[in-house]
């Protein structure tokens, strides 16, 4: 009887679930919207368990990656900006009671880094940084093949590096953090401000004047079609990313910086600017020896990492 593992990526808008086998292959998947409580999470897990009954496999573990600050040791979600119902919630125990299956929870970006480490761009790489560029910006640091956590499990809070003394408000309560300047939300704000300032752009026409319909995908599409404002918003974001990458390169001298999250899909526009800016501010040798590269698993790093952590937990391998 084969062994399979459930991996869950519990995001602010969407829950992704997979069944992964021992070889890291996804054998089944199910996704739905997140909702305002745990019901949809239970639904995803229940669905995967049901699907598995048709196969002759045993589910040996569940891994859940969740945005925000997670006490992975005690299995408690401390704080998650987009999942208010998970404030100080014993998620691991709750899921274990519901399923009878050993469960592991951790921060979604750390899960993504683990996914990349085993099946993506992090394979065989001792020291790397994993960065997710999406609605928010997250980071995780792998040192010597292990997740580096720091003294209070906050290591890798790259999104909150200050880049403007009194810049835009950030979700963390401070001003001018990298995230507040370069995330998907920041790009959207850049466009909306451009529209307000009557900058030349085709995006307003595209949404027939309904600015609520403007989102990152549309901004990317317009940029690819040559819209100057959209292109400018994306390159502005990429320049901030490049600067922060230079900090990571000078401080950590990593072998790779792996970039995931929705925005990493816009490789052709963002990556040349990111690399050029990183080079401008990094020491020569560390820059030359650091590969800045798109996540090998695309936007699936997190959910695969979540299943992988369940596998490692089952095999008794510490990470």
């Amino acid at each position: 009887m084969g062994e399979v593992y459930i991996g869950i990526d519990l995001g602010g808008t969407k829950i992704k679930g997979i069944l992964m086998n021992e070889d890291g292959l996804i054998v089944n998947q199910y996704s739905t919207s997140t909702g305002n409580n745990l019901d949809n999470l239970f639904e995803v897990i229940e669905k995967l368990i049901q699907e598995n009954k048709a196969m002759s496999s045993r589910i040996c573990g569940i891994g859940v990656g969740c945005a925000g600050l997670i006490d992975h040791k005690n299995g408690i979600t401390i704080e998650s900006a987009n999942l208010p119902f998970l404030k100080r919630f014993p998620l691991r125990y709750t899921l274990y009671k519901f399923t009878g299956i050993e469960t592991t929870i951790d921060n979604d970006v750390k899960m993504g880094a683990i996914g990349e480490m085993f099946y993506g761009e992090g394979k065989g790489v001792k020291d790397f940084v994993f960065l997710t560029l999406g609605t928010g910006i997250g980071g995780a640091i792998i040192i010597n093949g292990k997740v580096y956590r720091g003294i209070t499990n906050h290591a890798g809070e790259i999104g909150h590096i200050n880049l403007q003394t009194a810049g835009p408000d950030c979700g963390c309560g401070k001003k001018g953090c990298y995230e507040s300047l370069a995330s998907g939300s920041a790009i959207l704000k850049y466009i909306l401000y451009g529209i307000k300032m009557k900058r030349d752009t085709m995006i307003l026409e595209k949404v027939k004047g309904d600015i609520s319909k403007i989102n990152t995908s549309l901004i990317v599409e317009m940029a690819e079609n040559g819209d100057r404002l959209c292109l400018e918003a994306l390159t502005e974001s990429a320049r901030y990313t490049g600067k922060v990458l230079s900090y990571l390169i000078n401080i950590l001298n990593p072998e790779k910086i792996i970039i995931g999250g929705g925005l990493s899909e816009v490789e052709n526009i963002l990556f040349p600017v990111i690399r050029e800016t990183a080079q401008l501010y990094s020491l020569v040798v560390p820059f030359q020896n650091c590969l800045i590269i798109k996540a090998g698993l695309g936007t699936e790093s997190g959910v695969i990492g979540a299943a992988q952590i369940a596998l490692l937990q089952y095999k008794g391998i510490e990470i």
Copy 2:
């Protein structure tokens, strides 16, 4: 017969040497100026060997900390801005041939971090950053009780974090690096520019108009006596340090940031500003859990660390 170790701190202007016993106690010391070739280094080592003959101890190892990029594995000094005669020089082999004693060489800031780890503020601390504020600015990162080096041994190049897009020229060839804005040299430039701009200061009178006599010690003395320009130059430097510390806190979430080097002696003026600025730009919990503190060994961290690395090498302990 007791065992002793030679520790050398090979700086741009001064060579410090010590004999350290197994308990980390300094039993003898000798210092001289650096000079333009290896003669003075040989002199310091020869002197310590001679001094030791009067004691009934055996010298079991030599450790040399040296500014710049050092290939510690092969014992070669690659590049050292203030020690041009050490460019691509096999220093370890040369000293071994001269003394017949096993020799270890490494970067001076890494040596300082090791000194602090064993005998200073880093004792019992798993993850910390060691920063030296002097004529230049150096950094070393200790993770899990070991020196973290990165892929090309450049990890910890904190002095070259860019803080101003097109700021002052830096020794690394770039512009606006933290070091170019906050080091002892930068503080001196700040004062000289202030004098040129006819700012109100007593320092010019103090040196009787001879600006070549102005140095960091004098600036500190004048600041302590309330000279506004000198105080301003130091607090400006401290603000840059605080900002960089916030980056280290957000990225690495270390238990301590230990500050050594000559400028760390100016604790009463610099540290309150450093802490306040670091707090302004750090996430709350990681800041609250990070002690920003002066090096326990003062300006001796490097030379003690150098002797300690010789001891560890002799005992076969990898670091």
